[in-house]
């Protein structure tokens, strides 16, 4: 049975940034050492923060529950190492604000064996039990958004999911985590798909992979068990195809309505690393303790794909990979959607898919910002068919409400294509992020009144 398909239909617009994946795509995933002190914020996911269930001075084993979920839109946190809870207090996070968190001191001579919980059998477990198990395992979208996966998988009343899409697109330049996961953890992915198919009651499953990862697509197609209703689709390379709305358009030809969710068109998109994590953890009843991170960029000597314990401080990571001492810019995530880091004492969280480092010599100095010349390049690039030029001008005059009501600001998912192509170097995405925050703030204050 030939399950490999080459698709030529894709979404509208988009950009083609240089890929820079060649440095790390051939490097196998390697285990990262355990840092002496781990930093574990309670807000590693979107939603309600987790609630610590340990106390200061308590000894914990690897895999033990550190914090329970703070509500439905929340996931628990498990100890990534065996050690002792050093302190519960404020920890720095990528957002630049302190959040409640746990400092965990590693036992240096521990064998670091993980404790296992109650296994969830894919054949016997009910739909609800699988969703609960996914929440209990602390699983969030590992592609970068860190949205709790069990909430995403919950099909609302009256809606139906016919297609489960596994997102192996990895359109961000530099990142190769999903590529390596697909090559090395195919069995985990297929196990994960079994759980996901049961949880969503979908009839079929499509794995979407961009053509620059042909080897991964062929490998998955070759290893696929024959009883899975599976298709591996190879897509043309274009950014931001990994965004779920773009991927649905490219694979199914359906368009998610403005303000809607993929489930509105009968699809659920799950990242391939998340799928592999589900397939690996649920049969053992374990929680997520580590994730694959691509560490790359011109400022790194030992580039590679590493399996890093969650909570490892960025400073420790950069020291281990022998980062250039003259480091000037560090990004958490990819170059298009990642965030520039201002503090190296922040930890690797569940949502961090890459660390990118540049030295002062390699960073092109920020360009001068010129006025908009209405060339329309951003309109040609925007995958959501918005008008970034118009939005940018309104943002300059702080017309937040007009942006939201008349120009569909809230449909922007900050992919960065408009800023990438702008010949005037206008920081459009930063304007839109600011505008979205202001619109949400106003909406909140209005409902409060």
């Amino acid at each position: 049975m030939n399950i490999l398909h080459i698709r030529h239909n894709t979404f509208k617009h988009g950009v083609h940034p240089p890929e820079h994946k060649e440095d790390t795509r051939g490097l196998p995933i390697r285990q990262f050492p355990f840092a002496p002190l781990l930093i574990l914020p309670m807000t590693q996911h979107i939603g309600v923060p987790a609630v610590p269930v340990v106390r200061e001075g308590q000894e914990v084993s690897r895999g033990q529950l550190l914090a329970k979920a703070g509500g439905y839109l929340s996931v628990p946190l498990h100890a990534p190492v065996s050690g002792v809870v050093h302190r519960i207090g404020n920890v720095p996070t990528i957002s630049g604000q302190m959040a409640q968190g746990i400092y965990l001191k590693t036992f240096p001579f521990s064998t670091q064996e993980a404790v296992e919980g109650i296994p969830v059998d894919v054949n016997e477990a009910k739909q609800e039990a699988i969703l609960q198990a996914i929440q209990d395992a602390g699983i969030v979208g590992l592609g970068g958004a860190a949205f709790p996966t069990h909430v995403k998988l919950k099909v609302p009343e009256g809606k139906r999911c016919d297609t489960l899409i596994i997102n192996g697109v990895e359109c961000e330049p530099y990142l190769t985590t999903d590529h390596r996961v697909m090559l090395e953890q195919a069995d985990d992915i297929f196990m994960g798909i079994r759980y996901l198919l049961k949880a969503t009651q979908a009839e079929r499953c499509i794995i979407g992979i961009e053509a620059n990862k042909q080897d991964a697509a062929e490998h998955l197609a070759a290893c696929a068990p024959s009883d899975l209703p599976l298709t591996v689709a190879v897509l043309t390379v274009k950014y931001p195809q990994g965004a779920e709305k773009m991927l649905i358009t490219a694979l199914l030809g359906r368009e998610v309505p403005s303000g809607g969710l993929p489930i509105d068109v009968g699809a659920i998109v799950i990242n391939v690393a998340t799928t592999a994590e589900i397939g690996r953890l649920l049969p053992h009843g374990r929680g997520i303790q580590e994730r694959v991170v691509t560490i790359t960029g011109p400022g790194i000597r030992k580039k590679g794909n590493y399996l890093i314990p969650i909570g490892t401080p960025l400073r420790f990571v950069l020291e281990y990979v022998e980062a250039d001492p003259d480091l000037s810019e560090v990004y958490l995530g990819g170059p298009m959607m990642g965030v520039a880091v201002s503090n190296l004492d922040i930890p690797i969280t569940k949502g961090a898919s890459g660390v990118l480092a540049f030295t002062a010599a390699q960073v092109s100095r920020p360009h001068r910002v010129y006025p908009c010349i209405h060339c329309g390049a951003c309109i040609q690039a925007c995958p959501m068919s918005l008008m970034p030029n118009k939005l940018g001008q309104l943002a300059k005059f702080e017309a937040w409400d007009e942006m939201a009501e008349q120009h569909h600001l809230m449909d922007c998912f900050e992919c960065g294509s408009c800023s990438y192509v702008c010949p005037s170097h206008i920081p459009l995405v930063q304007y839109f992020r600011l505008a979205k925050i202001m619109v949400r703030k106003r909406k909140q204050s209005k409902t409060a009144v």
């Binding site: 965030v339 503090n343 600011l434």
Partner: protein, 288 residues
């Protein structure tokens, strides 16, 4: 002949509509107190909202209806308020003047920037990129969003990129309170002289690495203050303004000057034991 018909037709139509309008004007006339207009003219037309009403006209209506007293308007001069009180024959209702106070002393000469921020020149935009470059996560970013929104020219950035409130000009409209992404501004009665000039929630001397005037949560002010005036909450002194707070005792032993005293002319006075800041040049940026 055609011209005559046209003139007569249009003329009669105009007349008819004019009568209709005149009738409607009589029939639908809403009586409005003429004093509202008069009082509005006496108000400063700033529409700042400091009085708690959406603008000067609603405030004028409230004044005429007796729901508010002229003292609520902080923008008017004393004479202006007295004129309104005299005109309406009401009490002045002299309420205490409020001003905006900044709770951060970390200018670039004392507070370190961890990283160099490049992007939209605004605090709110800088705060989006992992909190801005400031070493202290709670500190003033110094891009002057508050200065930009101030309609009364009461805010200026000093030479260390720290906003300074002009107490005379500040009308406590609250625009800066809204604008600050770090929530450093608050509206306070001018009589509150004792002031904690820091929002850093960390404790211990390591906070001085990021900012030399930060509160280290040593607790000396709480010990020196008379009877429970100051308590340490979340590693910061909390002043109970419901008690008598007109004492400079708490600031005497503060090692950093994080707690101090607002003088009459709007200077922030520090205790004698606080570390003297001599450096006038910016502290070196460090990516660490």
């Amino acid at each position: 002949m055609a011209i005559v018909i046209a003139v007569v037709a249009l003329g009669s139509l105009t007349l008819l509509l004019a009568i209709l309008l005149a009738a409607a004007n009589k029939k639908l006339y809403v009586y409005e107190d003429p004093r509202i207009d008069a009082v509005e003219d006496m108000l400063p037309h700033a529409n700042c909202g400091a009085c708690g009403f959406p603008g000067c006209r609603p405030f004028a209506e409230a004044l005429v209806n007796g729901q508010a007293l002229p003292g609520r308007c902080t923008v008017s001069s004393d004479e202006g308020r007295k004129r309104i009180a005299l005109y309406l024959g009401v009490a002045l209702g002299a309420e205490e003047k409020y001003v905006a106070r900044l709770a951060c002393g970390g200018g670039i000469n004392v507070a370190r920037n961890r990283a160099h921020y490049h992007g939209i020149s605004s605090c709110r935009a800088a705060a989006l990129v992992s909190g801005g470059g400031k070493g202290c996560l709670w500190g003033c970013l110094g891009w002057g969003d508050c200065v930009a929104v101030c309609d009364f020219d009461a805010l200026h950035l000093n030479e260390h990129c720290l906003p300074v409130v002009d107490v005379q000009k500040c009308t406590a409209c609250g625009a800066c309170v809204e604008a600050c992404p770090k929530d450093l501004f608050s509206l306070q009665p001018v009589s509150r002289r004792l002031w904690v000039n820091c929002k850093n929630l960390e404790a211990g001397d390591q906070v001085l690495e990021e900012c030399q005037v930060a509160c280290t949560a040593c607790g000396r002010c709480a010990m020196d203050a008379p009877g429970g005036l100051i308590t340490m909450v979340h590693n910061l002194p909390l002043i109970d303004y419901s008690q008598d707070h007109r004492t400079q005792a708490p600031i005497q032993r503060c090692p950093t000057g994080a707690i101090g005293w607002w003088s009459d002319d709007g200077d922030f006075l520090k205790g004698p034991e606080s570390r003297k800041v001599i450096r006038q040049t910016p502290r070196k940026e460090g990516f660490s």
